[in-house]
């Protein structure tokens, strides 16, 4: 009797989670995977096969765009780490207790507006007739209007700005748990600032660094609006090709294939990153 009620409550507890996983993650992915294996042979006629994957491999534009997306996402992740770490360290360790919440909130503000509005904000700032170009002319630094949009650098800046928060949050929460005595012990035993940073702070923050990097990388690789709007004519991004396959080319089979490939490839990059840095997924969630 008792074990029956125990079982029942376990089932009741797990059901929403299981439904969530099955309905919103496994089923759609399985559906996408299934569609990606459909070959179109004529109107309303399909066969099972790997043609869509072969097409991907046979068309350099596709895999070049995937590689470019991955490479730029890695760059964005690294920059977000370089920028986010000092900010997180300041919030967690240096700022006064009372001001922490405020600083954290400041970091959250960009999330209060949509991607689209943020991207247009950058456009207003950076366009040829925009604020920065105008200010530089007014100051006499440049003689003619300068176009700051529509290049890779702008895309990277815009993406870093969008994702850096997702680097800061996990870093703050790990660094927050670090006893200051560890730092003092590090100095006391003869470590220089650099040694303490490299051998104590970074290893301690590693779970936060790893999870922050995974989140920012995945978000960046999967972003759509920012690279399109800020990159202009040279902004090839893999998600845009997925959109094009689905929407403008009516080619759901290829679109699904691209979706599967993006998931596999980003997972591979994350796996490779973990291997290269000697970390495991477990260290990011299970901290001793």
């Amino acid at each position: 009797m008792r074990s029956d009620t125990g079982k029942l409550s376990l089932i009741l507890l797990m059901t929403p989670f299981a439904l969530w996983i099955v309905l919103l993650i496994i089923l759609p992915q399985a559906g996408i995977g299934y569609v990606s294996l459909q070959e179109k042979v004529g109107p309303r006629q399909y066969e099972f096969g790997f043609k869509n994957y072969m097409d991907f491999l046979g068309e350099p534009i596709y895999w070049n765009t995937l590689l470019r997306t991955a490479w730029m996402s890695i760059l964005v992740t690294i920059l977000a780490l370089l920028i986010g770490f000092p900010v997180a360290y300041y919030i967690a360790k240096i700022a006064k207790k009372q001001s922490r919440a405020g600083l954290f909130l400041l970091c959250l503000i960009p999330l209060w507006v949509s991607d689209l509005v943020r991207a247009f904000g950058w456009i207003v700032l950076l366009r040829e007739t925009g604020i920065i170009s105008g200010a530089l002319q007014w100051l006499g630094i440049i003689g003619e209007p300068v176009e700051l949009l529509y290049n890779d650098m702008t895309v990277i800046i815009g993406l870093v700005y969008t994702v850096v928060l997702f680097m800061i949050v996990p870093l703050v929460s790990t660094l927050d748990g670090m006893d200051d005595a560890l730092l003092e012990a590090g100095y006391n035993l003869g470590g220089s600032r650099f040694t303490v940073f490299r051998r104590i702070i970074v290893p301690y923050a590693m779970p936060g660094i790893v999870s922050g990097c995974i989140i920012t990388f995945m978000l960046t690789a999967g972003s759509y609006l920012t690279p399109i709007l800020l990159g202009g004519k040279n902004s090839s991004w893999f998600t845009e090709q997925i959109y094009n396959q689905f929407i403008t080319r009516y080619n759901w089979e290829a679109g699904a294939t691209f979706g599967v490939l993006l998931l596999l490839f980003t997972s591979f990059v994350v796996w490779a990153g973990l291997r290269l840095t000697g970390q495991s997924l477990a260290t990011t969630v299970a901290k001793e």
Binding site: P43, R44, E59, I61, Y62, N64, T65, R127, E128, T129, E147, L149, Y150, I228, L229, G232, K233, N234, S235, S236, E240, Q241, N244, Q245, F246, I247, T248, R249, Y250, N251, W252
Partner: protein
């Protein structure tokens, strides 16, 4: 276990359908931004108090993708362009035949009606009737680019860094015309069409360094033109007319090879549940007094015999500034897109996008 699963699924399905069944008198309209002005909706609902109008704004590609995803249900009336019906119906079976006796076809401009019917008849059934038409061409700031006359001018080094275009099929077709080819005549021959696409792709890649950026919607195109960052661009005529009212230097220029004309139609999705209401809406918006309200919002010309005269004053003057009779005679109406063409064009567009200068 099996039965409970079935029960659950059935329950879910009932839950999903219950909402739509309860409001059978809702007209769900899938159309272009600005194609359902509030003023007209209010007027319509006053006239037919038992019909609620719900509007979803979209574009050609998304309309088809949405209807394809639902198997043609979820909407009661859609407005794709006339060249997007035939192949989509063959491939995805998303529309149902129209009952022409319910539509006041006499109000429509006869040549446009015949053209659309010819384009959208499958097995003797007509799937669409015309609503509004307009053109794609180029828009020039005549102070900066007084001599712009055709598609090829977008790639003229004289306007280095100051031109723009939308990276969609229109610019492929326009560029082909500008290079002296006629893509519509090549539709039937896929190899010839691919050959044409390759030439156009090469041209547009070469042209890439000349343009400032690709625009993606009327809003960013307007921003680029009004700020003066761009002086010459591919455009929809309606966008150009709107800008003409803000800056009379910005005019629509029908390319010398002919402006590309599109007709937005009425088509009823296969799963539409309010056909009567849909026919009422079609007849309602074609009434002369409503045509003016609609055109004021869309900037496009109604498919009625005196469509241009029924434009609001400002739009009419913009059209008259852009077109003379020879331009009107020279219009190139989009031909039906055979299945598979969009995929070829899509690859060409991706090649252009991915190319580095």
């Amino acid at each position: 276990m099996k039965t409970s699963l079935k029960l659950m699924l059935a329950g879910t399905a009932m839950g999903l359908t219950a909402g739509s069944m309860a409001s059978a008198e809702t007209l769900r309209l899938l159309t272009w931004g600005s194609y359902a002005p509030d003023e007209l909706i209010q007027k319509f609902e006053e006239e037919y108090p038992d019909i609620d109008v719900e509007v979803t704004f979209s574009n050609n590609e998304e309309m088809i993708a949405k209807l394809r995803a639902t198997g043609g249900s979820g909407y009661d009336l859609a407005q794709p362009s006339h060249d997007r019906i035939y192949a989509a119906q063959l491939e995805y079976d998303i529309y149902k035949p129209l009952d022409l006796s319910q539509i006041n076809t006499d109000a429509m401009s006869a040549n446009l009606l015949d053209g659309v019917k010819a384009n959208t008849t499958i097995d003797g059934e007509v799937y669409a009737v015309p609503h509004q038409w307009g053109t794609s061409g180029i828009m020039a700031n005549i102070k900066e680019a007084p001599d712009a006359s055709g598609w090829a001018d977008l790639c003229d080094p004289a306007y280095q860094g100051k031109t723009s275009m939308r990276l969609r099929r229109t610019i492929l077709l326009g560029t082909a015309f500008g290079m002296g080819m006629n893509p519509f005549e090549l539709y039937a021959d896929k190899d010839a069409y691919q050959d044409m696409l390759d030439k156009v792709t090469a041209k547009l890649i070469e042209c890439k360094s000349n343009i400032k950026t690709y625009w993606s919607g009327g809003d960013d195109l307007s921003g680029l033109m009004l700020s003066g960052e761009v002086v010459l661009s591919e455009t929809w005529d309606s966008t150009a007319y709107k800008l003409y009212n803000e800056n009379p230097d910005i005019v629509f220029v029908p390319p010398e090879t002919g402006a590309l004309a599109w007709i937005d139609t009425f088509a009823i999705p296969k799963g539409g549940e309010a056909d009567d209401a849909a026919y009422k809406w079609i007849n309602f918006v074609l009434r002369p007094e409503n045509v003016t309200i609609m055109s004021a919002s869309t900037g496009a010309i109604a498919a009625v015999p005196n469509g241009i005269e029924l434009l609001p004053d400002d739009k009419r003057s913009a059209v008259q500034a852009a077109f003379d009779q020879s331009d009107l005679d020279n219009l190139k109406f989009f031909a039906n897109i055979p299945p598979g063409l969009e995929d070829m064009e899509g690859l060409a567009l991706e090649r252009i996008k991915a190319a580095t200068e």
